[in-house]
């Protein structure tokens, strides 16, 4: 009995102590308040706002007057061909872009193999250049490069056809549905590969040089050093970035698709995010669009939790949570 009283007392003292500490540090809470409010208003309110995916929300009536409709909007989504097409494209581009994940790793290894440090630095500074451009700028550049009448690529193809005897068909790649997938992938790789090398190159620089020296004394070839020293040292970074990448796998690239798409290729360029934008903001079907967006976010969340769980089993240090 008395023990319990003591425990109760010590607990209440602990709470009091915590409380005192919070009071003493109140300026810190004032400091974090704007950030807290920001995340609540612009991130957590919208999270609860997804509830309109289950109601018949209309912009005219507002939040006060809406009824719960269950899975109606989700059922309707899957009966629409425009949505299932967008979902199919989304998965296609997601997976193809995920296949580009090793490209920056490869490029980083190649860059790190250059002996001349200055050469290395210049290459690194130049390959990240396209990452700084917005997709509208990239689209403008593509318009210039691919223009059938005066563009570089058609000119190059014509030249190759006449002098090398190749047989390229000169089409407008921006509006050609058949070549749209490689067009999306190549432009994506061109823009993103450089930025991907930054973190890997930093990780490669951080590798203990003594490991290499020991390997060289043992007579290991350059390839063997890459295989047995570089790659294992890089693995935690690769896994961490891979988890983040998988968490974003459902983001098939709104900015890119939005910039590159045009009426002639809509059916090939539509992904869930562009579908949400079109249905929600152009047709003002808020509940329907929110349902589509929620469907995507929920899958993304499940994927990142799953990959994180897997990573934790393989190597607890590389998990992100």
């Amino acid at each position: 009995m008395s023990e319990r009283v003591l425990m109760e007392r010590s607990r209440s003292q602990r709470i009091k102590k915590t409380f005192r500490e919070i009071i003493a540090d109140y300026p810190l809470y004032i400091m974090i308040l704007p950030g807290l409010l920001y995340f609540i208003i612009f991130h957590y309110l919208p999270m609860f706002g997804v509830s309109i995916a289950f109601t018949d929300y209309s912009i005219v009536k507002g939040f006060g007057d809406m009824n719960f409709v269950g899975w109606k909007w989700f059922d309707r989504l899957f009966s629409r061909k425009s949505f299932t097409d967008a979902l199919f494209n989304n998965i296609k581009y997601s997976l193809l872009k995920l296949c580009c994940f090793p490209l920056p790793i490869l490029l980083s290894i190649i860059i790190s193999e250059v002996w001349n440090n200055k050469y290395k630095r210049v290459v690194q500074t130049m390959v990240i250049m396209p990452s700084f451009l917005s997709w509208f700028i990239v689209y403008g550049i593509l318009k210039a490069l691919l223009n059938v009448t005066d563009g570089v690529l058609p000119a190059l193809m014509t030249w190759m056809n006449t002098t090398l005897g190749t047989n390229f068909e000169i089409v407008n790649f921006m509006t050609n549905k058949a070549t749209f997938t490689p067009y999306v992938l190549i432009t994506y790789a061109w823009k993103e590969i450089g930025m991907g090398t930054v973190v890997y190159l930093a990780a490669i620089v951080a590798i203990d040089q003594q490991l290499y020296e020991a390997a060289m004394i043992d007579g290991a070839s350059r390839m063997k050093q890459i295989r047995h020293i570089l790659l294992p040292s890089l693995l935690p970074t690769i896994i961490t970035l891979f988890i983040f990448r998988v968490g974003k796998v459902m983001d098939a690239g709104f900015d890119q698709m939005f910039a590159l798409s045009n009426p002639l290729v809509t059916s090939a360029a539509d992904i869930i995010d562009t579908y949400v934008y079109r249905v929600g903001l152009e047709e003002a079907k808020f509940s329907q669009a929110t349902a589509a967006g929620l469907f995507k976010s929920a899958i993304g969340l499940c994927l990142v939790l799953f990959t994180n769980w897997m990573a934790r089993k393989v190597d607890p240090d590389s998990a992100i949570m």
Partner: protein
Amino acid sequence: MAKMHAVQGPKHTRGEKIGQVIIRIFLALLVFIMVYPLWYVVMYSISDPRLAMQGGAFLWPKGFDTYNYQMILKTNQIWISLRNSVLKTIVGTCISVVLSLMTAYPLSLQRFRGRKFFQGMFFFTMLFHGGIIPTYLVVKNLGLLDSFLALVIPGAMSAYNMFILRNALQAVPASLEESARMDGAGPFRILMQIIAPIVVPSIAAVALFYGLGNWNSYLDGLIYTSSLKLQLMQIYLRNVLAATSSVNAIMSSVGEQSTGYLSQSSTEMAIVVLTVLPIMIVYPWLSRFYVSGLSVGAVKG
């Protein structure tokens, strides 16, 4: 034997030397592919429009003419759009950096109660978001639609950048903060006068992330604003690229007859160059801080 001694530094086999040559040629080609498209656009935009239209301005301009730039810079809208984008970049970045720093600093202190909770709460926003429609409704209900604030507030902070700052702040020795606190300084003063100056490189990197993001962003402008007074440069560019005869629209808005001298392409390319110019001006700093900032961010917290 004599030849071997002539080689300086570590000895390289012949195979390795050949490998070096192959690697360097490959990388040189890659750099060309990365840089050339933008180079071509610049060359095209300063070429004589009629000559450029026949193709061939591949490496150097064909003729030289800046009539397209002159016409574009005569329109009011380009200046309005440029002004909005510059304002959004400067004001937005300042708000973002201050907000992120104020959020990151308490989280970097071990003694801060509720640290784990706040961190978890902010981290979760990186994994799940409500989507553009619910966010749009929040902005709408706050009465921010079609205002400058809608361009800078809804995207003011990214949890990712905030955590980069927190990691940098955590690396500062705790004793600095403690001794300043003993002397009676409050957290705002400690942060501004003692801690922040130490992590200036990280702050600069984060500021550049935000700055570039602000310059390149368009979605906020597209969704939250509709008036031309608030149009961003990126959206101006998008509209020009989407229209088939923006050149005529530009000519008529400055009261000139379209003589057919200026081509649509040459107009488009000039606007691409104008949009990309600010980035290219700060590129040396941008690339350097980007590299150091991302490398810092790679260290997990």
